[in-house]
Assembly symmetry: C2
Homo-oligomer: 324 residues x 2
């Protein structure tokens, strides 16, 4: 058997991540890194916040979707793209489809957040609503693919998507150098697995930690059991983290991530408010989960120089998770 | 009479503004400028947002207060500083006093925003509460000055304060070059007069416009009548703009500002939400007033390349001006 053959090589490879970055770098925003003296004082760490809430469409998801769409053939582009997503991946695919001037169809659950539905609509994508369960979603998407011939762009369980999300960490390392630890939220695992792959190549001494709500803790369960245990009925205000790990993201996380921390809903809200009040930026609940993990478990986060990936900023301002 | 003697020279001079910048530049944040394609599309302008909500203490006020405190003698520093303010100037003075390790006493009205009171307290300043009217405030401050011997650091009606606030515009011009127009909010007039002075020297072709709430429109009335007409009972959610122009800020505004636009409360809330949703940053109502002016009166804002000064980001997240 050849060394480095497909069966032994972990993907995405560094080449795939570098290619992704080259492919998308003129389209995605180079997002800023923020620091805050008061938060550092409060948490006893030297924190670096990578602001993907300032990414196009307000979330890191634009990177993965762009990496796939920018690599489609003319024939594929002519067929358009489709996906299922309740949130930021839908907006991201709609946005890059608008930029490429191709057709996009998005299957969304009826109960998707109004703000995220409006974003998809604003970018000119077609929306098909379905019941809020996996079967309904898959059946509806299959219908769309059959009907339109569109290319399916998966939300996370895809090496091209993972390579795109990995570019967040490539940039982050370029901006701040080596970190003791980086903490990323984990839902389907595209961002976390990409972060781990980028660190493996560019900053192998950095500990990579995933953070997820206790009410959607399939990553913790799967990581502990060493087998994929999908979530049945997740409940959390972190609406970007409802999905379960996939069979491509899970093995990367199992082999390359140093730990998973789960957090309470109260901590997510507290962390979200801290970011709003101290950094003066809007992040969605999912993006606050890593800071919540440090608030709850500072001792589980090794070292002092700690990076946090603020994954997105799409919030329905009429439904904030506190009284106002 | 000498050319350039005090009686004919408008203050602050360019030298005073440059000195202020040199004095404060290692202490204040160099704040970023943001742009947004969607907002540009919506408003038909090429907008540049100068983010003083990211300034230390969350508002431009830190610049003026720092300029005064960094120029005090050792004898003055030993006496400590004092001021009256319902909001951001109080926090700013408390913060620079903490940095210089000197005593600060702040007179605040009983009804001051909880968030702003907490900020002052966190920086270690002493707070004296008084009734919410000018007489009570001045009497209380006089008592403090007599009792402590502290140096009074005025909130806006002072050339050192105006020179400090002018550094926002110095930076802004350095970052984005010449603008057709810049719009700043106007309350006591420190920021607007400073902006006008900086433009007079560094970008004389830029139109300078002040924006204020219709419910606190003393700048518009004074500008039109060409005499200072203080506001009696201002009512607006823009709590940073309740104060009236002073006898130092008004003449600068009258002679060097191109226009004043007044806006409705609804427009302020709409503009504030637009900034939160599109730029993903937290701004307080006062900071949204310039964008509200462009939303209401795009034709009153000359040219296409328009700068907006986002003056601050200190908001009580439990009392947002919309349902949630």
């Amino acid at each position: 058997m050849e060394v480095g053959s497909d069966s032994t090589m972990i993907r995405p490879t560094f080449q795939e991540i570098q290619d992704a970055y080259e492919r998308i770098s003129t389209i995605v925003h180079w997002t800023p890194v923020l620091r805050n003296r008061n938060l550092n004082r409060l948490l006893g760490k030297d924190l670096y916040f990578k602001c993907e809430n300032f990414q196009k469409c307000g979330a890191f998801k634009f990177r993965g979707a762009t990496n796939v769409v920018m690599n489609l053939s003319d024939e594929e582009l002519s067929r358009g793209v489709a996906t299922h997503s309740s949130g930021n991946h839908a907006g991201a695919l709609a946005a890059i489809a608008e930029i490429r001037d191709i057709r996009a169809t998005v299957v969304m659950p009826e109960n998707a957040s109004r703000v995220k539905v409006n974003a998809v609509r604003e970018y000119g994508a077609e929306i098909r609503f379905c019941a809020s369960n996996t079967l309904a979603r898959e059946t509806c998407l299959e219908g769309v693919l059959k009907e339109t011939g569109a290319v399916f762009v998966p939300p996370y369980n895809d090496y091209r998507i993972i390579a795109g999300q990995a570019t967040v960490m490539l940039e982050f390392i370029e901006q701040v150098g080596g970190l003791d630890t980086v903490v990323a939220p984990v839902g389907g695992g595209g961002l976390l697995s990409g972060t781990a792959r980028a660190c493996a190549f560019q900053s192998p001494e950095t500990s990579v930690i995933g953070a997820e709500p206790k009410g959607a803790d399939d990553a913790m369960r799967s990581f502990t059991a060493k087998r994929l245990i999908p979530m049945v009925s997740p409940v959390t205000i972190a609406d970007g983290l409802l999905t379960s790990l996939g069979e491509k993201t899970f093995p990367i996380i199992l082999s390359q991530v140093d730990g998973i921390i789960t957090v309470k809903e109260d901590s997510i809200i507290h962390a979200m408010r801290l970011v709003w009040e101290r950094l003066k930026i809007i992040v969605e609940p999912s993006a606050a989960v890593p800071l919540a993990a440090i608030l709850e478990n500072p001792q589980s986060v090794p070292g002092s120089k700690v990076g946090i990936i603020l994954s997105g900023g799409n919030v329905d301002l009429n439904h904030l998770p506190w009284k106002c």
